[in-house]
């Protein structure tokens, strides 16, 4: 059994669940607890990454740089991670100040077929001596050959690992095995997997990824994340321990950290509710869920119809504006009936 690098996205992806309203006290409390548990990497920032605070995807309560500063103060063992999507974040406005504020690990993400937009950001972070990973989002939308090609581009830019994200929670275990093994065969650098729980398969898919050769696995406390949430990190640690994969994370302490997360960060526990199940089936980014629910109420249309229509249009992350357009269209059709 190989060693796994556990990447904690509670303080980044989790933010989607509460409309990006994490406070400094919440960041401090969870960062300290995860650090104590020996979590290797703690990622912070707006749910869509640095610089993404906007009307389009939601404005954050705490500016990214303050989040980084607060987390930095509360971490001694863990590395501090950040996430950026070119098109939202820029080097000058976001990456440079984050690196100066003490980020150790930089993940640069793009939609799964658009890796070349990450070149400058990956190279910049490597030049600054950071640990740098490429991320292919919405990876259920491309076949394994395309994913391998795109991941190879990221490797050529200097990425030290590539993570496949199941941003819509649309994967079944076979998809995970097939796509992760394709990347493991194609790359000389580590491969990672980031699951969403829309179809209730986050833990199972993470296990499938590890068995297929992935060495980086993402999780968040209690699955804190958009809609149905992510993979509960405390479950991952338990399951991997039972399977014999070493993670270096202490079981009791990560269980404690997850209790702290539930108490301090979360309003409701994530669960695959109907809209999340539909989002997974439609292959639409889980981060859309809060926006879809709000807009569906406002225009009096069925949120499930919105998700299926968005899926039909093959929308990608960052296209949240289409929710309003689709809702207006659906409500007009309803009036005509």
């Amino acid at each position: 059994m190989h060693k796994l690098l556990i990447h904690d996205v509670t303080l980044r992806d989790g933010s989607h669940a509460i409309g990006h309203q994490l406070s400094a006290a919440q960041v401090a409390a969870y960062a300290a607890a995860a650090d104590k548990a020996g979590v290797p990497i703690i990622e912070v920032g707006h749910g869509n990454g640095l610089g993404a605070s906007s009307l389009q995807v939601g404005e954050s309560l705490l500016p990214d740089m303050e989040m980084i500063t607060v987390a930095r103060k509360n971490i001694s063992r863990s590395k501090l991670g950040i996430f950026i999507i070119p098109g939202f974040a820029t080097i000058n406005k976001d990456l440079k100040p984050a690196v100066e504020a003490g980020a150790d690990v930089v993940r640069v993400a793009s939609h799964c077929t658009e890796a070349d937009i990450t070149e400058r950001h990956i190279s910049y972070a490597r030049e600054k001596g950071k640990d740098v990973y490429g991320v292919l989002m919405m990876s259920h939308m491309a076949p394994k050959e395309t994913l391998a090609e795109e991941a190879l581009k990221m490797e050529s830019y200097g990425a030290q690992g590539v993570i496949l994200m199941d941003s819509a929670g649309a994967y079944l275990q076979n998809d995970v095995s097939e796509k992760v093994s394709a990347l493991v065969r194609a790359l000389t650098i580590p491969v990672g997997f980031h699951a969403h729980n829309n179809l209730g398969l986050a833990v199972a898919n993470s296990v499938a990824a590890a068995e297929a050769g992935a060495t980086i696995i993402d999780g968040s406390a209690r699955g804190f994340g958009a809609g149905a949430g992510n993979t509960p990190i405390e479950l991952l640690i338990g399951v991997f321990e039972k399977m014999g994969f070493a993670t270096g994370v202490e079981l009791y302490k990560i269980l404690d950290a997850s209790d702290i997360a539930e108490k301090e960060l979360m309003k409701v526990l994530p669960f695959p509710k109907p809209t999340s199940i539909v989002s997974g089936l439609a292959g639409v980014f889980s981060g859309f869920s809060k926006h879809v629910e709000r807009v569906a109420l406002e225009y009096k249309v069925d949120p499930r119809d919105i998700f299926f229509e968005l899926g039909r249009r093959r929308v990608v992350g960052g296209q949240e504006d289409l929710i309003v357009e689709v809702a207006i269209e659906l409500s007009r059709k309803k009036e005509l009936k």
Binding site: S54, L55, Q56, G87, T113, I117, E119, V316, Q319, D321
Partner: protein, 288 residues
């Protein structure tokens, strides 16, 4: 025919090639030189097939033969135009910059075409800027205190060439500056999303604004009027969601279908910046 303004194009990529085809159709302009760095490129082949003179000597082609043109369209890169701008100035050439180099004053024909006539170097901002700034400008004209303007443009992956992809940061910075300049908003934000869906999607741009007191009654007719002005030089520019209040902020959306000159019609992003550049060049030609 001899009265047409002689123009050269620097940059033989997607933008430059599409621009050439549009110039060939203009009653006011002619393309006298198409300049790149590689004679084997697809753009060069297209120029040859259209009978346009080509060169692989970059800016030197114009330096060596200054009489070849009166106006130069620069469709290279932000770094490229920073080098080319002083050379063109010295040669006394008008320059229309399609890169996000931010050397000359920003030109958005629907807003300030006539004010740009006297300038020697104008910058066409960005594709998202051309689609959104006129709308942001109207928001600023109707409302005194614009707190924030945010623009999201989604374009088809196929329509974004290597230079566009390498220059996302400059795209964001230039678009944000343009929005601020023309709307008077205190804060601005630009986001660009690439979508690989097949069949390719048309360019779509959403403008959101936060203002102290939204005046939708005044805003809606002014936006529709502006859309009419833009349609005169960008025929495929359409308002798909008229200004509406959602979650207490103004939101409106436009979709841009291209003319289908060099790339298929989904490349509205190439089309709109090129149509804007042609509108500016024709304005120079009419007043020459």
């Amino acid at each position: 025919m001899s009265k047409k303004l002689k123009t050269a194009i620097l940059g033989s990529g997607l933008i430059g090639t599409d621009l050439m085809i549009k110039i060939m159709r203009s009653p006011y302009l002619e393309c006298t030189l198409f300049v790149g760095r590689n004679l084997q490129s697809k753009g060069m082949a297209k120029a040859l097939s259209l009978g346009v003179k080509i060169s692989d000597q970059s800016i030197d082609a114009i330096v060596k033969d200054p009489s070849c043109c009166d106006l130069v369209f620069d469709a290279t890169s932000a770094k490229g135009h920073a080098v080319h701008a002083p050379i063109l100035e010295k040669l006394g050439k008008l320059a229309i910059d399609l890169t996000p180099a931010q050397v000359g004053a920003m030109c958005v024909p629907g807003v300030n075409l006539k004010d740009c006539r006297g300038l020697k170097n104008v910058n066409m901002v960005t594709c998202g800027g051309q689609a959104s700034i006129p709308l942001a400008y109207v928001v600023g004209q109707v409302h005194k205190d614009v707190e924030y303007i945010e623009v999201v443009s989604t374009i088809s992956s196929r329509s974004a060439g290597p230079a566009t992809r390498a220059n996302l940061d400059e795209y964001i910075e230039t678009t944000e500056n343009g929005l601020k300049h023309f709307s008077g908003a205190a804060r601005t934000k630009a986001i660009l999303v690439l979508n690989p869906a097949q069949p390719c999607i048309n360019m779509q741009t959403t403008v959101r604004a936060t203002v102290a007191k939204p005046d939708m009654e005044a805003l809606i007719p002014r936006v529709k009027e502006m859309v009419g002005i833009i349609q005169k030089y960008v025929p495929g520019y359409n308002l798909v969601v008229a200004p509406t209040l959602e979650n207490n902020r103004i939101i409106m959306m436009v979709r841009v279908q291209g003319l289908g000159d060099y790339l298929p019609s989904y490349a509205g992003n190439l089309d709109i910046i090129n149509c804007a550049a042609i509108a500016m060049a024709e304005e120079y030609a009419k007043n020459a």
